[in-house]
Assembly symmetry: C2
Homo-oligomer: 353 residues x 2
DNA sequence: CTGAAAGCGCTTACAG
DNA sequence: CTGAAAGCGCTTACAG
């Protein structure tokens, strides 16, 4: 009993099918069939084998099974945004979809490093993943990896896809519509748009939707104010919008609503408005984007915000990958999934103007 | 050439060692040895085999290798905090450590669901992970899974460990010392502590360190103010500390420093102070905890904060797991890793008081 | 210096 | 109704 004297924990060898077969007094083949509900044998034999498997704590070695089946029930998840709040709900949705179907997920953070990306992709392929999902932190940037012509299906979610790939992204223009139409429905007339830098594609998509909705409603569209994705920019934008001299042509009136490109900008806008003695939502309604709960719920008042439904998007991506792995074809192209507006208290009730 | 007519992309079969051997005109065994620098053969043969492997794009099937080696170069990462900002740097550190050593990571979110946890652990074990790392969002709560008596080594990081396990956590008391000593060094005399709810172990650890440091410095320690981990609580705490009637015994003086239990509380404190016309750091110095950059950098002024070095902690955990997997024993117990103070502008320079 | 054999743990035709 | 054989893709003693 030397093993019992060891100071280090000793890890027991896993029990194999051979062990089960021996204990049950049958061949390995029969044992396998009994456990997999394959082949024909008396119900008693089958049950006896199962019982001994259970009592021995037998769990089949997935490695061996995968080798045979050419299917590892494993998927690779590539991201360049381990820290970000976008990839998190996304990845959570992806995992959910996959886990529910018994597949495990290799998480790989490739950052912005092509070599790291290459390394991870090769490792995943070597481990015979059934497929790969590429995610990112913005939909207009490519991951630093080449995922074309892989031996396995690939899906893109919230990142710039290869041509002819299947991809899922949020419908940012639709999300912007939701926000601006909400303001219109409430009777707001002078709706400003304060958003991020021009280098982001979504900035233009949303700005266009903003203009479209205002036009459709016969309202004047001011030029969107582009800046950083920060609270500080929210402050500065308010200074520009509210501190300038009043114009005389009637168009220079102060906004009664601000649609912000993200929740941090909105936070800055709300704080700056309060510092000027302007009431939200009384004087000015504010809507954010991203629905970053920890921010949206801490603003005073709590912030109405556009939610990109990232978890649902991830779930859809996961499910589609699975069907691809299963041999079902999927039409290539970019599918845009709808956003939703989460209404809190920063827009108030319909106005009687 | 029917395959070329298919509408669905056709995934080429991976090339096997057998293919390489055939192409090079040697046996599979020889091919294997050539590629693994094993056995003896002429340098030319070896190079020729390697060259044909390269030209065929051969990559060994890890599944087969793992089956043989009883080592999958794969590790399971358990968490109940996919959304949180604590597990992210942690996981990033863990991944880094592992990836650098060629091991891939299965990410499993078990949430608070014991059944989900059980499921994930079994799936990982079936896939023959070499080891498991359990992480969480607070160090005084157990994951909803039983990780004792597994067939593989287990490491705990930033979560409540099983007895006799090896675990890594942040040294919260040490972090609190850093903060309070920083205030003392700056000459602050009346240092308050506004923190989270009593249900968190770290609240008491840090509060005790706070008292200890003040005592060591001959300064009065006020009772720590316990509340929620929120901005709103920061506001309320400032109201309690600064709006009450002045006491006459000299002990009722307003604080000149506030050490906060997290960055959100600190944000609330700073905002509330500004609203009262009090200057930070002029009148009151403020230190936060967590060093959540997106918050710490957005406060006005930017917030000095205690960083738990979570990425480093994760890295340490990953490395230790690897050495455990490699057969090196590791002493069981909880290892506390030091925090560091990230100085920004919310404490100012030494006072001349 | 190179190859045939056995085996990792399992499954699946194929015999009996 | 059950078992022997072949094989998934690889590696490692062991012969020659």
């Amino acid at each position: 009993m030397a093993a019992d004297d060891q100071p280090v924990p000793v890890f027991p060898k896993p029990v194999t099918l051979r062990d089960v077969a021996a204990a049950a007094g049958v061949s390995v083949a029969t044992a396998s069939k009994a456990l997999n509900s394959q082949g024909r044998m008396t119900a008693e034999t089958r049950e006896r084998i199962r019982e001994t498997a259970r009592s021995l704590g037998f769990r089949p070695n997935s490695l061996a099974q995968s080798l045979l089946r050419r299917r590892s029930f494993t998927v690779g998840l590539l991201t360049n945004d381990t820290y970000g709040r976008f990839s998190l709900p996304l990845m959570s949705g992806i995992s959910d979809a996959l886990v529910d179907n018994g597949v495990s997920v290799f998480l790989c953070n490739v950052e912005e490093d092509p070599r790291l990306g290459q390394l991870h992709v090769e490792a995943m392929l070597d481990k015979r993943v059934d497929g790969i999902i590429a995610t990112g932190k913005r939909i207009d940037r490519h991951l630093p990896v080449d995922l074309s012509d892989l031996r396995v299906p690939v899906i893109y979610a919230f990142t710039q896809p290869d041509p002819d790939a299947v991809a899922f992204v949020s419908d940012d223009a639709g999300g912007a519509r939701l926000a601006v139409e909400h303001f219109c429905g409430l009777g707001r007339k002078r709706i400003a748009h304060v958003t991020g830098p021009a280098s982001f594609a979504v900035v233009h998509d949303r700005a266009q939707a903003y203009r479209d909705v205002l036009t459709e409603n016969g309202l004047p569209a001011a030029e969107p104010l582009l800046g950083a994705w920060s609270e500080a920019w929210g402050h500065e934008a308010v200074a520009r919008l509210f501190d300038g001299p009043r114009r005389q042509d009637g168009k220079g009136e102060r906004p009664d609503a601000v649609f912000c490109g993200n929740d941090q900008i909105a936070r800055g806008v709300i704080d700056a408005l309060r510092e000027r003695g302007l009431s939200v939502p009384g004087d000015v309604g504010v809507i954010g984007f991203d629905n970053w709960e920890i921010v949206a719920e801490a603003t005073r008042p709590p912030l109405t915000s556009v939610d990109m439904n990232l978890a649902a998007l991830g779930r859809e991506a996961g499910l589609t990958l699975l069907s691809l792995v299963g041999g079902q074809p999927a039409a290539p192209g970019i599918r845009k999934l709808p956003c939703r507006l989460v209404v809190r208290q920063s827009c108030g009730h319909p106005m009687d103007g």
